[in-house]
Symmetry: C2
Subunit: 617 residues, 2 copies
């Protein structure tokens, strides 16, 4: 931190010297002064150097944290900025013959890939409609003004700055042409018709990390009347809308009914996002707005609608129970077991699962957070490649899009289709049965087992169950005496595939995938000659890389009023204020840059000192 | 500061206790939990108390500063927040029979009035489309991200919180009916048709402080293609637009011409705002964007178009000279003596005054800052009251709108029409000539002089000129022997009215007017019985109040690159880095609250450590 300061300070001093110098020299043109800036900047590159050690320290901090996505941090140990800077200018013209990687998206998956990638080996082009990365886990805090929008975003160009051979274009991907290895892009801002034309980008490897969008389940009225909570703009709109509701309700000419309708806040979806938003809204209202609008407080009502029987039902039930009790104490109304049929202007129509009868709820504002859906460009692409009617792109365990060579997909826009073991059982048997005796000796089995286990991770889960105890025994002390024919082998594995689970659509998964894929690309030339992956079950030799394995580091559920709940590794559960402080420290350590880290911590302190701002802007 | 922290800390602790307590009690409804918040808040009122001393210290700091508008600070020494809080809730229903003040606007004039007003004597209703105050002198810094928008805004409700009997409505004033003492208001946000109806507000005294809007001088295309720099939204749009220009210019499929057009930034108007924006833009580009878009720097061009022969021509010419040299060194192009005829898409058409020939300048972005114009509601009101074809509402020296009883106007929407001395010279003579001898003895003259001087401040300026030397001599040692008849009297004053000047449309003037008017309202009951003003020239007795007198505390012109210029009291001129630091300290001390002060200082340090953020949002 301090040497980062030192770096800047030096730059500042060199700059002041510069100004004095300029004044001495008198008149000159701005190109010159720009060049001076250059010298000036390269002077401070040592500041850039010294960054590294600090990011390493940070890396350790992050490792020690209980939550995933650490990759976001290591990438900082990258070539020093000022040299890469000029390169990114020169080389990005693409004069040399490096393989071209095209990365779509600047979210968790994309940025952690970009940061972990050794970009000296490739020519990288990043295309995203946003020229910044958003620390999405803090989006709900932005809706209430607990942190500011810019405190959780980092410019992609600042990240690119630290890499070589990387260029960025702020554009939407409108079409993917895998046959000709091209992607069609459309600029985001149409600025007085300047630079409004679509353009194509060619690639050798395409990496799709465009994320997902809110899922309305085609419920009528949702698009028109509801707020979503996926993008930074959504969060800012919600913040504005909350203040609007209060300001309107405070007008002199309103009836009591109008006031209470305006201050009826509804959240559809009791998942982590919905619950965290409800908690943030409650804190905003009862810690800050209550002072600014004292006469309105009796009219305020916060409701969470959940189709399931409990909120946070992806968490351990002790957590969802704690959350429900906390909300009940806070007066946040829970409508569980309710399915929203339609959102009309000013009212939500839903059916109570239990009684089956229709219920109407009036509202002043609705936030819709019920899981994720497919982005149009991905839906279209899936049709092209014959992956119809899916929620996300199907990839194999190496994140390669099925049926598309040189195309990778990661993050919320993709799901890994775990290979079924039973489909391959004959091949596996053949692979293990080296002497083709038709019988598998324990020793043969053990030799092949590591590869099988890596290729079919569902086995690992299965191993812990009773059913495989004997297998474990065999593996501990293999004897040729023990024989297994294919039928016994099959029967012992028959329930394995039931253990397969799709990965959750979280920042943690996306970040790990990005880092994994970057590592593969970094080791490409090495692994081409020396494959490091498991034995091929169908075909000879080994796979080039190890398949992707997800490590779950646990998850948090902040519940407001300085209370939080957390699932920690090893089925540990932690709730209460201490957990909230753990949350603070982990989220601070997870920030993508020193800048956002400082800003987020400052915002937290600011809220503690001055409360949240309720200006309508 | 610390005790403000202590206050909050205490609140925080009491809150934590609360939570524990709640958990103990188990379930309760949200009204209860809301009441608890109450007790909890009143617990920390002592924190509120201890604020005062600090605001007082601050008051002193502010006094010691060289710049006006200090009123903004004193108002903080007001009844402690938590009690006034509940009052503002109860009394704002308006049960008692106090005189009703309706204040339109929440800018410098309005807020400094509100803060200085002893609101216990009145029922105050503030109506403004913005529920926050903007520290406008820092708007140009927001365009470049040197400070964040929320760092220079303070919620009006937070200010109201510290006063009694004040309520606020976020609405536009759409019509003024002075006959029935009513104002028609329209809510700003139309939220799903809730609370969208217009409403009326009745008053006993109307205070108009709605400010002004940008003046296009009816130049074609300005409304359509130009950015203005009056409101906080303008500043944010400009910031977004700058990044758009760079991101578009960075796209791969653009020609060199398109790039240089996109990066051609034009500022129309070489006044303080335009110049400060140009400086901020230059710093943003050459300190930060140059690193993010290195290949684009040769295409960047910043141009300031000024109709006069020099920029900053309201300042001392040494300052405008310094500014022009600084800009030349920085490569900011100055086109002086150019009148803009039309703004077309992508190009500005203008006429060079010298040569008289038409010139066209291409642009990627234009910011139009050429002085202020009248808001529609004020224009309409001026027509109602027979003040046609004026730029602003005409008031007398007591800020009373001419021809409108109980109506006051201040700030940018009003101008004081200074009374001409020569029109009243006969009356003045009669007033002074107590014995109606037709001749004025020096003693008689001296007796009346103080009132005359106060009523016609132009005399003060005139006194310093040669012409009045003899008068001064007379006043120093008055003798009955010296006689002056009316003709001599006239002739000695004949050039006085030439000294009259309209006040500039600055925050400084508006703030002083607000404070002045509040002081009048605070002393109303006292001065009704004991008028404190000057002798009436036409009519008997004294005026109720002293007329408004503007004190000029100097002005700043920040020029970028840590350089600034300043006009200080006593015709002092200061330029360079030291002046920039003076600027920092003064602007920090001038902030309306500890919150904005802390935020602005943090933003400045943030910029120094991490540079400006270039995320497009």
């Amino acid at each position: 931190m301090f040497s980062s300061l030192r770096g800047r300070a030096r730059r500042f001093i060199s700059y002041s010297f510069l100004v004095g110098h300029r004044r001495g020299r008198g008149i000159s043109n701005h190109k010159e002064s720009y060049n001076r800036q250059w010298n000036n900047r390269s002077e401070c590159s040592s500041g850039g150097h010294s960054h590294r050690t600090h990011y390493f320290v940070l890396g350790l901090t992050a490792l020690s944290a209980t939550f995933g996505g650490s990759c976001v941090l290591y990438a900082y140990t990258s070539p020093n900025s000022s040299s890469s800077l000029i390169d990114s200018g020169k080389r990005s013209e693409g004069v040399d013959k490096k393989k071209r990687i095209l990365l779509l998206g600047s979210g968790w998956a994309g940025v952690s890939f970009l940061k972990s990638l050794d970009s000296t080996q490739y020519d990288v082009h990043v295309v995203s409609p946003r020229n910044f990365f958003v620390f999405t886990p803090l989006l709900p805090s932005v809706t209430a003004g607990t942190v500011e929008a810019r405190s959780i975003t980092e410019s992609i160009r600042k990240i690119v700055l630290k890499k070589e051979n990387v260029k960025f274009s702020q554009a939407n991907c409108t079409g993917i042409d895998t046959a000709n290895k091209k992607v069609l892009c459309r600029p985001v801002a149409d600025h007085l018709d300047l630079g409004k034309n679509d353009f194509e980008v060619e690639y050798d490897y395409l990496i799709i990390a465009v994320g997902a969008q809110a899922n309305t389940f085609n419920t009528p009225g949702v698009e028109k009347y509801c707020h979503f909570l996926k993008e930074i703009e959504d969060a800012e709109k919600i913040r504005e809308s909350i203040v609007d509701c209060f300001e309107l309700a405070a007008l002199p000419n309103l009836s009591k009914d109008e006031r209470s309708q305006l201050l009826h806040f509804v959240i559809v979806g009791g998942g982590p996002t919905g619950v965290e938003f409800a908690a943030e809204l409650h804190d905003l209202v009862y810690e800050d707005l209550c002072k600014l609008y004292p006469t309105l407080m009796p009219f305020v009502n916060i409701v969470v609608i959940q189709s399931g029987d409990h909120i946070l039902n992806t968490f351990d039930e002790r957590i969802s129970q704690f959350a429900e009790q906390k909300f009940q104490r806070d007066g946040i109304e829970l409508k569980t077991g309710c399915r929203v049929l339609e959102v009309q202007k000013n009212r939500i129509v839903m059916r109570e699962k239990g009684t089956g009868k229709k219920v109407e709820v009036p509202y002043g504002m609705v936030v819709w957070s019920t899981g994720i859906g497919t982005r149009p460009v991905i839906a279209e692409f899936m049709n092209q490649i014959g992956q119809h009617d899916r929620r996300a792109l199907a990839t194999d365990e190496w994140l390669r899009v099925k049926g598309c060579p040189n195309t990778y997909a990661l993050g919320d826009c993709a799901t890994i289709e775990q290979r079924k073991l039973l489909e391959d059982v004959a091949y596996i048997f053949a692979l293990a049965d080296k002497d083709n005796s038709g019988n598998l000796t324990a020793i043969e089995f053990k030799e092949a087992f590591e590869s099988i286990r890596e290729r079919y991770p569902q086995i690992d889960i299965y191993l812990k169950t009773q059913r495989m105890k004997d297998v474990l025994k065999i593996l501990d002390d293999p004897k040729d005496s023990v024989l297994l024919d294919i039928e016994q082998f099959k029967s012992s594995l028959v329930k394995v595939d039931a253990q397969m689970k799709a990965l959750p659509a979280t920042a943690q998964v996306a970040a790990q995938q990005g880092e994994y894929l970057a590592r593969c690309f970094n080791r490409w030339s090495v692994c081409e000659s020396k494959p490091e992956g498991p034995l091929r079950v169908r075909g000879d030799g080994r796979h080039m890389f190890h398949p992707f394995v997800y490590k779950h580091f646990g998850q948090f559920a902040p519940l407001g009023g300085e209370q939080a709940a957390a699932e920690l590794p090893g089925d540990w559960i932690s709730v209460g204020r201490s957990t909230q402080w753990l949350w603070y420290s982990v989220y601070a350590s997870k920030q993508v840059s020193w800048r956002t880290r400082a800003l987020v911590i400052f915002d937290w302190s600011k809220r503690f000192l001055f409360g949240r701002d309720a200006s309508r802007m």
